[in-house]
């Protein structure tokens, strides 16, 4: 326990604080201000949360090409840059619901492509959903019900911190003995921190996750009572896999989980589709559910906002005619790599949206302390949702949206600090106001093919 906490002249600790820094969205944090005005997690955080909550609320300025300027000047410059773009994009999108919403409205005004910094992982699940659907369960259901976990991935502590504390082995569970869950970890054993010995009741099956689709398919085959050909798949002996299949059949409520970010970047969707198939196969006789783990920068929430406002997911062009979704042509990383973008607005109010190292002219809206590969054309610091302003984010299981509170306030001295920065939504709205309102003429394509 930090000695500085708890002294009488400090504000009382805040409980049930929601952490906005990953898709676990833990909402049981206790946070206090230390003597320096920094936030300190005093209960229930993970290592990442402790670091990010404790970052100082640095004073932050707007910059044009490295030169400090007032906000208005930065907004004018940003608007000029974006207004003249023929191939604009709005990316990053690591923000709360309101921030994302404002970014999408701006993109619509610009006719821009929209994509999230972490959407490669997001699209593993999304593309699989689009073609086969899914059978899943949320954190609360898993916590109380799951008696077997088959988890694909590595570095669970990094991608899904507190997974074991909160979901796998919670102190209490409604429909099984607390802590009784068992399972298998399928993935590389030489990954990194957190890939040490398997937790109690868990067995590690060392595998190359590039073969996750084949492993899951072989499991489906076994659960359905058939025998796959060969002795091994993806590095796992078939007889070991057969034990997983038996466990899935015997479980009352099995969970197939995966860390999307650790799947084959080129075929993560293929893996998720295979996981879905495995889940559906198991449900013929017992209960089983899929669970996607990981995600950052409110990627899932950003995608949800785009879906409800425009009917399409990210990797779409908005505003230039009807919303046009194309996961291939509108993958922002690819577009940047081929110089297909001439003006980029990058939104990084939360963690998880590293600013791309690109020559493309860029307006960056970033939380203070966001590392920059080089000075962008325009840099506007924005407040951090959940620390400096209220809002909401979506949890990785897709159902719960959680409220973010404001924890930091400007000092009475009036000295500028992160706590007095504008929200991303406010900056984006100010930008929107600087752009002409008349939409581009709509060109309807004769053949709607994609």
């Amino acid at each position: 326990m930090d000695n500085e906490i708890g002294e009488t002249d400090l504000p009382p600790p805040m409980s049930d604080v929601v952490c906005p820094f990953c898709a676990m969205a833990c909402d049981d944090l206790t946070v206090a201000h230390d003597r320096g005005g920094r936030l300190r997690i005093t209960g229930n955080g993970c290592a990442r949360a402790r670091t990010l909550f404790a970052l100082p609320a640095l004073p932050a300025h707007c910059f044009i090409k490295g030169r400090a300027v007032p906000l208005d000047a930065a907004l004018d410059a940003a608007a000029a840059l974006l207004r003249n773009a023929a191939f604009p994009a709005v990316g990053g999108l690591a923000a709360d619901t309101e921030g994302v919403s404002a970014a999408l409205a701006l993109a619509e005004r610009l006719g821009a492509v929209v994509d999230h910094a972490a959407s490669d992982s997001l699209f593993h699940g999304l593309r699989a959903l689009q073609v086969t659907g899914a059978m899943t369960a949320t954190f609360g259901e898993v916590r109380n019900r799951a008696d077997l976990f088959v988890l694909f991935g590595s570095e669970f502590d990094r991608h899904a911190p507190r997974l074991f504390d909160r979901l796998v082995r919670p102190p209490t569970a409604l429909f099984r003995d607390a802590g009784a869950a068992r399972g298998f970890l399928i993935g590389p054993s030489d990954g990194g921190p957190g890939d040490g010995p398997a937790p109690d009741g868990f067995e590690r099956l060392t595998a190359d996750l590039i073969h996750a689709p084949a492993i899951a398919a072989a499991l489906s085959q076994m659960v359905a009572g058939d025998r796959p050909h060969g002795d091994r798949v993806g590095g796992i002996a078939m007889e070991d896999l057969a034990r997983v299949a038996t466990a899935l059949r015997d479980a009352r409520f099995g969970v197939i989980g995966w860390v999307a970010a650790t799947l084959d970047p080129a075929a993560g969707d293929v893996a998720v589709e295979a996981f879905n198939r495995l889940v559906v196969t198991a449900n013929a006789a017992t209960r089983c559910a899929g669970l996607s783990l990981g995600g950052k920068g409110n990627a899932l929430g950003a995608n949800y906002v785009c879906a409800w406002q425009y009917g399409v997911p990210l990797r779409s062009r908005l505003g230039a005619g009807p919303p046009e979704h194309d996961p291939l042509r509108y993958r922002l990383k690819s577009l940047l790599a081929e110089d297909g973008i001439d003006a980029l607005l990058w939104l990084s109010a939360l963690n998880g949206a590293e600013v791309p190292d690109t020559r493309t002219p860029m307006v960056v809206l970033a939380r203070p302390g966001q590392p920059l590969p080089h000075d962008p054309e325009v840099l506007i610091p924005v407040a951090i949702p959940g620390l400096d302003h209220a809002g909401s984010i979506h949890r990785g299981d897709g159902v719960a949206a959680l409220p973010l509170r404001r924890l930091r306030f400007p000092k009475s001295s009036g000295k500028p600090s992160a706590a007095s920065l504008p929200t991303a939504a406010a900056v984006l709205s100010a930008l929107l106001d600087r752009l002409p309102a008349s939409p581009l003429p709509v060109l309807i394509r004769e053949t709607a093919h994609v």
Partner: protein
Amino acid sequence: MSDAYTLLRGGRVCDPAGAADGTALHGPPRDLYLKDGHIAATPPEGARIGEVVDLDGRIVMAGAIDIHSHIGGGKVNLARLLLPEEHREHGSGPDGLRRSGSGLFTPSSFVTGYRYAEMGYTAAFEPAMLPSNARHTHLELADVPIIDKGCYAVLGNDDFLLERLAAGATQSEVNDYVAWILHATQAVGVKVVNPGGISAFKFNQRRLDLDEAHPHYGITPRRILTTLATALSDLGVPHPLHVHCNNLGIPGNESVTRDTITALDGLPAHLTHLQFHSYGTEGDRRFSSAAAEIAESVNRSPNISVDVGQIIFGQTITASADIMSQFRNSGLASPRKWVCTDIECDGGCGLVPFRYRDKAFVNALQWAIGLELFLLIEDPWRVYLTTDHPNGGPFTSYPHLIRLLMDRSFRNEQLARINPDVAAHSRLGSIDREYTLEEIAIMTRAGPARVLGLRDRGHLRPGAVADVVVYDDLPDREAMFAAPALVFKNGRLVARNGQLTATGWGDTIVVRPEFDSAIERRLKPWFEDHQTVRLGNFRIADGEILDHGRGGLSIVPTLTASDSCF
């Protein structure tokens, strides 16, 4: 605020809830005054009249109210993501007034608001908000422009309630919990979906009848149903329990539907998408219409109101919390993809895309059953126009549906086009009834408003919110209702001839019954020990809705003992 009145001059006002005799349509045209977003009494001499709109005998009604339409929330959004093909085919760009959007049966939020408004609808109610998904639902609905909206919280499969019932909780404890949920989730009513069945499915049970014991808790759906209905009645929540009966879509389910009505034993309740619950097992195909029996049962039960959930031929998606049914139906998915999610010890979400085919006997008979229910239930105050959007079809098909109800020859033409066996197995062709304009006004406005407890909506008496729709009296009722001449929301013109002219934000309608806050002492540890969201974060603050600047909160007054239910 302005001190000027808007005068709508010389319309034939069809206001069944407002006029003393309910038949003003047949009287001489009269004037309507709007002021400050409300209907005003005839102003005193010399009052300033701003705008004057000559209605030339056009028909005037209150804004229409959709009592049951899945327009937002987690499952609707997932449905959008599941069907990129729908959104590829139906998209619209921004035009300076409208935001862009896409979708036909799962339209995006802005498009939803625009289309409702253009059809003369000024309020719609999202009927399946899982409490755990409430914040998401309100975030989404905050992006539905123009119309007012409200949500029914789904209860009856939540483990807290089931556990408390199994432990012998008193009715008053349940009442407090229900009231707390209404407050915490900013809801206007409570819906029960396949009582107990969704939870049973999580225990690997694939069917649960009304009097069958839940595999874990041992309580019956009947108990859950009556306890919740009693709670809402005790709490004075105007909208009675919104019931999605057991065994949706299963041939022979009419008996459980009638048993449900009997089980309610006079307690007020609203049975939703009744069409899906009115199936018999007669005939070679073991699938028949039980609309007559169900309608008879409804006619005899003044405590019961219903909406129909008419099906409309074509592609749509079925979205329901009833994962037990949806998992069973997943083999019918067309295109062949579906979603089934177990949610937060709270409920579920099942999505199964579906194409209703007019040549398929079962689908065609479903169509006929829906229409039979509309036509055989006698009291238009107790039967409301819905397609259970999008489950039976998109809400944009309401004008077509209205024409089917108002125009017998049109109806019989359609009947002649569908699977020919249906005409033989259905009494639809022999039903002469044609809905009158007054009856349409009742079932789309006055009735829903009354059963929701919306005292200032659904009628045109002074003091009502100035949601006013003006129609040309066209012989083609579909054309008439598809593109009203004028639509006013809160006294502001928002659409003309079916085209949007202005946009804005409607209210979120909620109910706030009194309760003993001691219930939170029981709930707090439940949330901490068994949920993954803390109580304080679960509860939605007013500010979360109001701070967006997108419409206000409108609180429906609870009923006191002297208020009658109907």
